[in-house]
Symmetry: D4
Subunit: 250 residues, 8 copies
């Protein structure tokens, strides 16, 4: 998968530095660390341009500690842990310099602040209840080197709140539209801007919101071009993707 | 069910005009005509304020003819037939004075024009493809004595088309919002007006529109107050309900 | 969105009272208050004829307190908070004159009683279990200036309970039919009255009731004309819409 | 599976009439005929009290012909073929004395008329469009020896049509309620009678009727006791079950 | 709705015993008691052959107490309360002679034992986990005057357990098949008996059992004739229906 | 919505060039052309950076002709018509210089070729059957000024086909992953690249593919970061979004 | 992915037979042939033990012809084409020695008969209508070198048909259970045998069979151990898997 | 069902050792023990080659104790209890020699270790969170006499982790692929091996993972041949089936 790495091994064989058998073994030696319960991917930063992120939802605090330990050896900053329970956060805070936001439940080890992309990412929400997901997106994008502008509670039932912020929207390289219930925010923003809009349906609502399915379908059917969608409540994924877009052509 | 009717029968018994047995029979005699395949409800205009409507979708042209014949004896004007196939329309047009609109597939026998309510009903669509359903609503409302204003192709991906028609919206007693795909139109209009908004999801779209389910869910989850929903593609129901609202307090 | 407001600004420019730049800024200045976590819409009463309502389900008690504070500055009476948890109600009751109904979990700050519409709204339920949703509808409609008649536990499995209340039904300007399980109440009432019927499916039931989906589908498919539907358990929305209808032509 | 049959075989062995091996073989010899594409069950009338029925929907006319031929050797009358296409019916009518009803698409070979149960079965429909399914039920029940009363187009949106037929309902041993759209008919009838009500949802409707799912859910959630449900459009199953009930205690 | 009752009133008017006005009032006076939160149906035993049953799931213990009190005045025995929470049962046991089964959570006030039907009802389950629902069915049927045979843990993955009980099955007037997971029990029993089989899907299972939906669909699609289905976990409904069938022709 | 346009109008009032009334009218005059059945948005290129696109699926050929005519007056090149039926294409080809691809059913009026973005867009498919959707994406992206590389039939069941094209993938600014059935292609590509991956589920498959729902869900749940999703079969939307991304920072 | 192939390349470099660059190129050279619309996998027989199979459903006859041509160069026998339309079959039969079964719509180029596995595969169906899917499974398994026994129309509603074939079942190395409607066949067979049972739900049925979903869920929830499931109507997949199992340990 | 057993009984009758009546009784005497709440199947090891397994999820600890007691009389080793709650495990550990794994919640009474099959079963997971289900599979397979290799956290978003373990995969007789979210692991492994792959979707994930439905659909639609699927989270079923396959031809 890594052409330079492979080419080097082959050249080493050609030059007699290593034998064919050794080359074969090295080819198979992949840059991950096997903790038994997890195979930590140290090669990911090279391959994907960002360090591995720890999905904290179904891991024990000891498992998370182990993975952080493994990652720290290779990437010293901004290790993200999403969906981190407060108790696990308390445990980890005793062991690592941990930033923890209890609204979005995101944790960042060795958080540093640096902006590596020129453009701006706007994170908008339909209502107050969508803020936890929006903050997951915003904090992720900031940790990945982006300038983020927050635009909360601008749902379509009161359009003037959105329309009075058109200049903010038009200045963005990417907009993250976070909304539950009918999820129309993504479409309306999509019609007002000329940059990619990433829809994040949230599980906010009741009855026929079906834990975000209604908002998800609404965003998938957006009649505005330039709108794509991530999983329900996936603020992290939206922040990560927005960062990718914001770094394009950089 | 009809208090006056019952009271009259009872009074007739009391006064010896009819016997108890005859009264009992009359009480059971309900004002419908039994055609075998249909029980035509001649009492409906009294009970519901509008004549029975013929749902043409799964009836033969001969069955429709029979029902029209039965209805004509009691209500001479504006007999609505919805979802009327062109071939059935041609057959009926040879037998009755039939207005037929081949876009909405609505037929009206002995169509007359009279406006019995003071207010206006606005019928709006998200796109061009929603027009057949919208016309079913508009023609129904007109047949029931309402003034109707059409506002087509004002979907939320191009908000200025809607915003430039705010005066039309604000003048309405009821708005019918007809939209497929993400169905956000109902919510956006709901936030802009202070009259009831009737959402009509349409089966327009593809993929995750699921033949109108996405629009239906979107409208049910509307964060704007005053929005209610009828069945997918049910233009007739929306027009009928809007007419009821428009006649309230009249 | 507000024609008079815009026209005044333009006239002020024309007359030299303000510069074009200042006019431009004012045009963008919309009448909401930004609390950070919420953008409180003080303009809504003008635009929609009713004050903003606070959806309490996913807001902290402090957030609700802040929004009430902002609203009180502009509308002194009948501020509705729906889905208000008992603990939050206790907190707010220490700070505001709060009416709280623990069946429907609705709270009203500075509740006053005045009837502004002539007609009557009937709120009917299929069973005893539907009463919390029905009370949300009834209290909302009352707060918005309507006379409300309650007709509880009149489900279709014992039709005589409903049929013995036909006079109540026929006197209404709007009927709210609240039912779970098979949701047939809306259709049956729809066939008995000539006013709009607003179906509110409830999440009451088990198994194939699917938390209200069965009742929702039943109501959407109503073969009675004049029936529309709001979201599952959305008593507030039904009460609000019924009030709109009851005020039509007023 | 057939105790007498088994006991006879065992007695024959005991008495030396047949050897154990032969008995073993006979025990395994089950009374069906293997046509290759079908295993025709000649034993069913003994086991279930009614001859095998041919589900014609996905069989070729030659396959149906073969099965009829096999069945005729054992049961000479009233062989039912459901969902029989008109072309197949024409083909079979050249070869067997076939009754064919093109509304319900049911065919009966050697149809005879005899009533073997004392009670009455009522078949009711919500609308005209439900008649094909209702006729499948009615013709099935008649072929199985029942007296059937048809009560068509008595949907709940016009309750008086149903209420004026209460005596018919109350005389039944079983009622088959056939309805599409919101399917409330089963519940309403269930509340009015004291005999079993078999709900047959039909695929009649559009939009959120979801080809009968809405009616199916409605009937499953019936708040009236004594209501059970068969598959969507399964008129045959309802007629068969009603016949079983009507023959109970006979 | 009650012909004799109506006829008597009319005769009284005819004979001058009561005036037409009084007759009209009586016609409307339906035999239910209005407790505010419930309309207790004292007429149901006449109309449906069994007393009203209290669905305890979403009622307070005080509401249940009130309804029992109202019912006791008219029917002194075997008042069923389904889905009765243990705490409510304890409360009621202090006030009424209450039988309570904590497996099925059914309560019976003034339980008496008498068998009024000749036949037998078999209640079968696929597994041990289905027993609570099966007991709800069995206790209901017993309270309604039926002899019940229990046949538990005879699921289709071990057919010999079922096949060795064929005589029990063949002696029944009705079989209640209670099963979760794949729900095949109803079909297999349906093929082995000649009496009605009532399928009760249960919410037992995990993953793709979808809380009983898989079993429900399986039973609805049964290829065996004579099978009908009630709601998931609706043991009461099945027991009630089986009792109706068992009393047919009695 | 257009700040410069508004500011100009205000300045004109300020300078007395136009009156306040005239300014008010102009403010409301939005740059769309009303064809009755459609409101063609001539302002979209300014607002969104790309001309309006015609969704041909549910429009008559005459409607499409009318919209093209209206658009040509403002944007002379590369007018896209998606889902254009062959018969409509033939009709339009007689009237406009039309490029038509009968695999993807895309039409382009006055197609010109120019590349305005530096990077490359890769369009990959899982199988041969996904090519029509992929071509819709590829032709759209090319019409919007992008260089496109096609990589077809590289599904995950034969990983070597994908792995041997890693260099192509790693050179892209955006990858469009088009796949039906299990839709794993998006995740696998997402793990191999560091640019945004746009998943396009297709309706290819049968049975539990549910017309693309399975692939849609698979892509939404992608465990690879940087993946977002558009509607099933929405090749156009993916191509448009990829173009937006490819032009970011340009 | 192919260790020997890689090792050989590395050894060739070590021995100076090829340069590192050439080795690198060869490593990337994967054994598929790129036809543009398809990448034919000639390496699959080595990797998976069976030649590539052509899914004919959405390919043109010319595309299929091209792929056959490419495959024939490497594997001369038993090239399977599934879901082959009759017209395409006729076209191909003019060009290749094609066996075509119009029931299952399977085509086999250069069909040869040889049995390479010792055990037997039983293919059972619930009804006659399931035979097309069963034949797809049976013909696939035969083409892959297996002895197949067909056991058709042995559905659970007539258990004796299945029970009289227990010896056939017990002799199998794998059983393929093909059934629509309630799909109980897989569970019942699973309880009767000690070999793997592969469930193939079919889309046979109507109403709540939901095109095979009911059978699919039933099989997934099988309470019998040893049952697994493939996609609805996927006879080929079941035949292929059964062949793998039958060749295990061979 | 057991030919030898039946044949012996018949021979005994033939030889006069037992009477026909006694033979009849014995034929019906099936080898299960009836505990009332459960019918323990002692005959299963003969019939299915493995002892009965106790599904612990909805049984009381006393019920489990009773079933173990009954089973121990016939099969002294490796009695599996799945989904065993920790409290029940503690209770049972006081009474039996119990192995208990609190990750997979599997319990084994009298666990012994012996390998009866030659091949290897590989259990792979997409992530760390899938390990509990994987361990249920692995421990089951080990208890049934198989050698198991665990390969955890090799999800498709980091393909190199999987590709570096190709030799492990290629050595297996069966692979169990355990994955939640998008479930692509089964397809990718299916393309890399030539042995049966058993997909186990897990309920790991959030939002549109729908508790494992997304992974389930993904696996059912696998474009790789040789993949079949068991229920969501059904590690036991996969382990049992893999053992069956691994013992084939043994």
């Amino acid at each position: 998968m890594e052409n330079e790495h492979i080419r080097q091994i082959l050249t080493d064989i050609e030059h007699g530095k290593i034998s064919a058998s050794e080359g074969y073994a090295r080819l198979k030696l992949t840059p991950y660390e096997d903790l038994g319960y997890a195979k930590v991917d140290h090669h990911r930063e090279v391959r994907q341009g960002a360090p591995e992120v720890i999905y904290g939802a179904s891991k024990t605090k000891e498992q998370i500690e182990g993975i952080i330990g493994s990652l720290l050896a290779h990437c010293p900053e901004n290790i993200l842990i999403t969906r981190l329970a407060p108790e696990s956060a308390a445990y980890l805070a005793d062991r690592f310099p941990l930033f923890y936001d209890d609204v979005s439940r995101i944790g960042i080890v060795n958080r540093t602040s640096h902006v590596s992309a020129k453009g701006t990412i706007v994170v908008a929400t339909g209502g107050t209840s969508d803020i936890p997901v929006a903050e997951e997106a915003a904090l992720t994008a900031e940790a990945l080197g982006n300038k983020v502008v927050r635009l909360y509670d601008v749902g379509v039932a009161g359009l003037h709140r959105l329309l009075s912020n058109l200049e903010v929207l038009s200045s963005a390289n990417a907009v993250i539209a976070v909304a539950g219930m009918e999820g129309a925010l993504a479409s309306v923003i999509g019609g007002l801007t000329d940059c990619p809009v990433i829809g994040v349906p949230t599980s906010i609502g009741y009855g026929a919101s079906f834990q975000g399915v209604s908002a998800l379908l609404s965003m998938l059917n957006s009649c505005a071009s330039g709108v794509s969608v991530v999983n329900i409540d996936n603020g992290f994924g939206a922040g990560y993707l927005a960062s990718m877009i914001n770094h394009t052509g950089g």
